[in-house]
Amino acid sequence: MASQKQTYWKKNLRYLTILLLVWFAVSFGAGILFVDNLNSLRFGGFKLGFWFAQQGSIYTFVILIFVYIFLMNKLDNQFNKKGD
């Protein structure tokens, strides 16, 4: 049981790390640190860096949370089955 708890927590931490890396990349990466480089690319009428800062990062945030909900519900189910 103890090792199961550890697996659960470790998996959770792995999901967190990956999702937070994406969170950082779209906002602080694409929207702030590399905004000038990305602005030389275009996405329709938008400069890409500007689009990430004012639109793209927000869409990604919403998707990230729903991905986490999906992953954790699956993990919770696995954990509860084995725990019974």
Binding site: W23, G31, I32, L33, V35, G45, K47, Q54, S57, Y68
Partner: protein, 553 residues
């Protein structure tokens, strides 16, 4: 129909709805008063969180600020949405699992210390008070502009409404009125946005529309960049702030959002841990609707404004121009006496002062939309201000009645006594907030950033380490919080109010503005906590087990 009638109908109907809901969902126990009995559906809680979160600032000011600052305004867009990722992933599920009523509750129990609880209560009170005064002011401004009453009566009407449903209904009443308020405010925000997007680009979706071409076949953003360059402003799609500062401000706003007690407490109201995650997702989705529309409105209204006024004769200005001049939010001075309006970046030659707040409110008039749309906007702005004020009020009243009275001063108080004191605390808090709304201290605008900085410098590290680092002990957490908050207060008062010798932009530490300093204070909080923790007694075994427990679903 006359505009004034439309406004009375829209505001009257929406207020009747809120009061009706408050009556239907009165709170009868402390659990219902603090956390709505803990049985709110995740989607309803998502809507309530969204309304709670989106204040008069989001509704009225944000699009205007972006409109004037272009890319620099992105700090608010990313900062005030990215925090929800931190909330959903790092805080909300565990705090729900912990299963108490307030944020100081968690800090006090996790760090097995009433000192920690006291520090947390102090932080919760300052953060909430700085925030609520601004909301009451917003209510006053909207009333005075649209209902033609003076600001004082406007604030008093707002106070009565909030008092009624917050005191009577507690969290239960607030939650369901916030659901209604979200619907009102998002409808009110989207209708004019869609209208204007259709007029400007023929595209009904504003988020796509502002990257589209206007009737002349030029991309709207390229046109705006060109106009800005012509008039001497910095290019709309690139910034004027330093990258370091943008980074620090965005981080402070994100972390501050995740640490705001009135947002966190909303996740105590759902049934189980998985629902806490779900409602954070829904909340951000509902918030994103407004936050992705705001930059579009910013671009449309900026282009509209420049094309309407720049180098045009003053006498030809449309009716809205003089109406907003009367409010003092729009000022024209013909410096070179040519009868034309020169709107340029150079302060010496610029003849037009436009307050950022009028961009959203005047937008329908500038775009010549029907009267009922303008009335809707008034009801929406009020919904945004009232819902946030109510949420903050509840944090203040629970901090006083639950954390201070029940947990520290009078542990033997009965449930009924606690409920009565919660209602008295809420009443006093409304009166105090109303007072600040009527007599705004000069620091209200300056302190909104302080609220985020303080939340970032105090709560976020303490809660995060409380969950993810079970060895963190009370000595570490308390000294971290105290150092973080003290430093933040020092920096803000030094550079915003000129205390401790004041200072200008060139004196900023590492080029970080006071708005972004919360990030620095937060890092220092982490560092101090970890160092102190290493040199002091270990966390007791039962607390370590408690942490183990909240990590599991």
């Amino acid at each position: 129909m006359e505009l004034q009638y439309w406004i009375w109908i829209a505001v009257g109907l929406s207020f009747t709805l809120y009061i009706g809901i408050a009556f239907w969902s009165r709170a009868s126990s402390t659990s219902e008063f603090y956390v709505a009995g803990g049985g709110v559906h995740p989607i309803a809680n998502g809507m309530a969180t969204a309304a709670d979160w989106m204040s008069a600032a989001s509704f009225i000011s944000m699009a205007g600020i972006i409109s004037f600052t272009g890319y620099d305004g992105s700090v608010y867009l990313m900062g005030w949405t990215g925090g929800y990722v931190l909330l959903a992933l790092l805080l909300a599920p565990y705090l729900r699992k912990f299963g108490k009523f307030t944020v100081p509750d968690f800090i006090g129990d996790r760090y097995y210390s009433n000192t920690a609880r006291g520090v947390a209560v102090f932080c919760a009170l300052i953060v909430s008070f700085t925030y609520i005064a601004g909301q009451m002011r917003g209510v006053g401004v909207v009333f005075s502009r649209y209902l033609e009453v003076d600001i004082t009566s406007g604030v008093l009407i707002g106070m009565t409404i909030v008092l009624f449903y917050a005191v009577l209904g507690g969290m239960k009443g607030i939650t369901y009125t916030q659901v209604a308020q979200y619907c009102v405010l998002i409808f009110a925000f989207m209708v004019p946005a869609i209208y204007i997007s259709l007029i400007a680009t023929g595209n009904a979706i504003p988020q796509i529309g502002f990257g589209d071409t206007g009737s002349d076949g030029v991309f709207l953003l390229d046109k705006l960049d060109g106009l800005h360059k012509e008039l001497g402003f910095h290019e709309y799609t690139s910034g004027s702030k330093s990258t370091v500062d943008v980074f620090f401000i965005t981080m402070a706003l994100m972390v501050g959002t995740a640490g705001l007690p009135h947002v966190i407490v909303r996740f105590f109201t759902v049934k189980k841990v998985s629902d806490a995650r779900k409602s954070a997702g829904w909340a951000l989705l509902f918030i994103a609707v407004l936050y992705t529309t705001a930059p579009a409105i910013a671009v449309f209204s900026r282009t509209n404004l420049i094309e309407t006024v720049s180098n045009q004769p003053y006498v030809d200005m449309p009716e809205w121009f003089s109406k907003w001049e009367d409010t003092g939010l729009l000022k024209f001075e013909d410096k070179n006496r040519d009868g034309l309006i020169q709107y340029v970046a150079d302060k010496e030659q610029n003849e037009l002062d436009v307050d950022a707040d009028i961009m959203v409110l005047a937008n329908p008039e500038i775009a010549d939309l029907p009267n009922w749309v303008i009335a809707l906007l008034a009801a929406g702005a009020l919904a945004a201000a009232l819902s946030t004020a109510a949420g903050l009020l509840l944090v203040i009243s629970s901090a006083v009645s639950h954390d201070l009275l029940k947990k520290m001063v009078l542990p033997d108080i009965s449930e009924k006594g606690e409920l009565v004191s919660a209602r008295i605390a809420a009443t006093l808090a409304v009166c105090l907030a109303g007072y600040f709304g009527i007599n705004p201290p000069g620091f209200v605008a300056a302190t909104v950033a302080l609220a985020f900085g303080l939340a970032a410098a105090s709560f976020f590290p303490a809660i995060l380490m409380g969950i993810f680092y079970k060895k963190m002990n009370k000595e570490g957490a308390i000294s971290g919080m105290i150092v973080g908050v003290t430093l933040m207060l020092f920096y803000m008062t030094k550079f915003k109010f000129g205390w401790f010798g004041g200072g200008s932009q060139s004196d900023w530490w590492f080029g970080i503005s006071p708005e972004g300093f919360g990030t620095f204070a937060m890092l220092l909080n982490f560092a101090v906590a970890l160092i102190v923790c290493n040199f002091t007694k270990q966390t007791p075994e039962n607390i370590q087990q408690l942490v183990e427990k909240i990590r599991l679903p």
